[in-house]
Symmetry: C2
Subunit: 287 residues, 2 copies
């Protein structure tokens, strides 16, 4: 397993692999890897002969005042976790953006990709430039690594939809794979940010998962009214001391709110416990 | 010379060429080819073993009310012009955008690339979404054709700068080449739109070129005040019956206006003659 930091060296490796007819899979991450990430790597191994995992905390998707500075990092630990999985390359660039400087005279990075509809609902409400940063950095990674397949987790459901749409709309020559959300034994959605929860917050945060499970059961027993499903979730999470950013039932494809659970939809929640914002979602059964 | 209309077939051809180690150059055009385009093809031939010319009038860069419907087209004539030049593929897609439709439920094309600073001055003033459309379609073409080198004309100076910046910022693995503007025998900048000028407009439109030449001479003889240079041009073009959209002396890299011609700068003009908007520019000598 090699660690590559330079864009040029990364692309050169990929091109030489493809020249030999080998398929390459890319798993983009921000590091501090957990079982969720490792499941993406396993999926990547199934789909290509060569696997590249990128580890890069993308400043382009953090707004001022968000948690860029305290985002957890453990590069050496990540390397240890990836070693046994048969990963070929860890792409770990120091910085992917051209920085502005007085000498450059306003010629810093200024190109941004907008997925104009899908970026707006859900996380887009409280993080209006978040998906602009995500789409831009993933397009850079696709252009540098030139993979045949790219693997994302559906835990970041909107991100997966945004990036799938971007790949389709900009005709990137890559297959997009979305993998199932992975949970801790007790049900909490795995996230690099979970380590920033106190023990109490960690316990209380389970309310998100439980309320989603409850919604799933209610749908199975015939409830289709989104507002009823949302209300029980917001109430349960608030009762557990969480602050709901959003709790929305949306169409799986367009991410537009639905009043009734009739077509394929997803119940997506973002909620704060202490200083940590957590995401979770379930795809609801069609009634 | 083959004519390819499907994205998949186009990419497959490129990949098989690159698999064999051959370099590919792309010349993106909107067709109705003139000597300016053909000079780009010659440059492409110098730089790669295989040359793809795309012919696609990109609806994404025309605003409602602009001249999309009357933009000149002559596909058969273009084919005849390209045949003797040793072009390998004409990529002529019917439509590059996924269209929205009631069945698709709002899942039409929605991804756009913004080069946020360079898109604003010059043509960006009267055509605020023009470069958004240009950048987006060129990124699509780069992703479909996957060339090693892409060739643009510097007649569309801002477009060349915008696309160079996009390629740098998004890490496209392609070399960008800008080619010198080509003029008619009398000096008029070659443009597909020139055929839409009446004989009188055609003659009057030469005022653009003459005023740029005059500016160049004034700079050579020591004039560095942008406002003086601009004034003589606006006055000459207006006097010839043209309507100036902009006449700006800007830094070659940032496209920001400069008061004095001191650093590398370019004098760019857009002016209407009749119903036709013409562009022209000269890179000014450093004084």
């Amino acid at each position: 397993m090699a660690i590559v930091g330079e864009k040029g060296a990364m692309r050169q490796w990929s091109r030489s692999q493809r020249q030999c007819g080998r398929r390459i899979a890319l798993v983009p991450t921000m590091g501090f890897l957990h079982e969720g990430h490792l499941s993406l790597v396993s999926e990547a191994k199934q789909r290509a002969e060569k696997v590249v995992v990128s580890i890069y905390v993308n400043p382009g998707q953090f707004a001022p005042g968000e948690d860029l500075d305290v985002y957890p990092r453990d590069f050496d630990g990540d390397v240890e976790k990836l070693k046994p999985l048969g990963v070929d390359i860890i792409f770990n660039p120091r910085d992917l953006y051209v920085r502005d400087s007085p000498e450059k005279n306003g010629a810093g990075h200024e190109t941004w990709i907008r997925v104009e509809n899908l970026e707006k609902p859900l996380c887009g409400g409280s993080r209006p430039l978040f998906f602009r940063g995500v789409a831009t950095v993933v397009s850079k990674l696709l252009n540098i690594v030139e993979p045949d397949v790219v693997v994302f987790g559906k835990k970041d459901y909107q991100q997966w939809r945004v990036l799938s749409r971007m790949v389709r709309d900009l005709d990137f020559g890559v297959e997009v794979v979305g993998c199932k959300l992975v949970r801790e034994a007790d049900g909490l959605a795995m996230s690099s940010r979970n380590v920033r929860l106190t023990a109490t917050e960690r316990k209380n945060a389970l309310a998100i998962f439980h309320s989603l499970k409850r919604a799933e059961e209610l749908v199975r027993s015939g409830e289709t009214d989104s507002s009823v499903l949302i209300e029980q979730a917001v109430s349960a999470i608030s009762h557990a001391g969480g602050r709901v950013d959003y709790a929305s039932i949306v169409d799986q494809e367009t991410l537009q709110s639905v009043d009734k659970v009739a077509s394929p939809s997803v119940f997506a929640i973002a909620a704060w416990f202490g200083s940590v914002r957590l995401l979770d979602n379930v795809e609801l059964p069609n009634s």
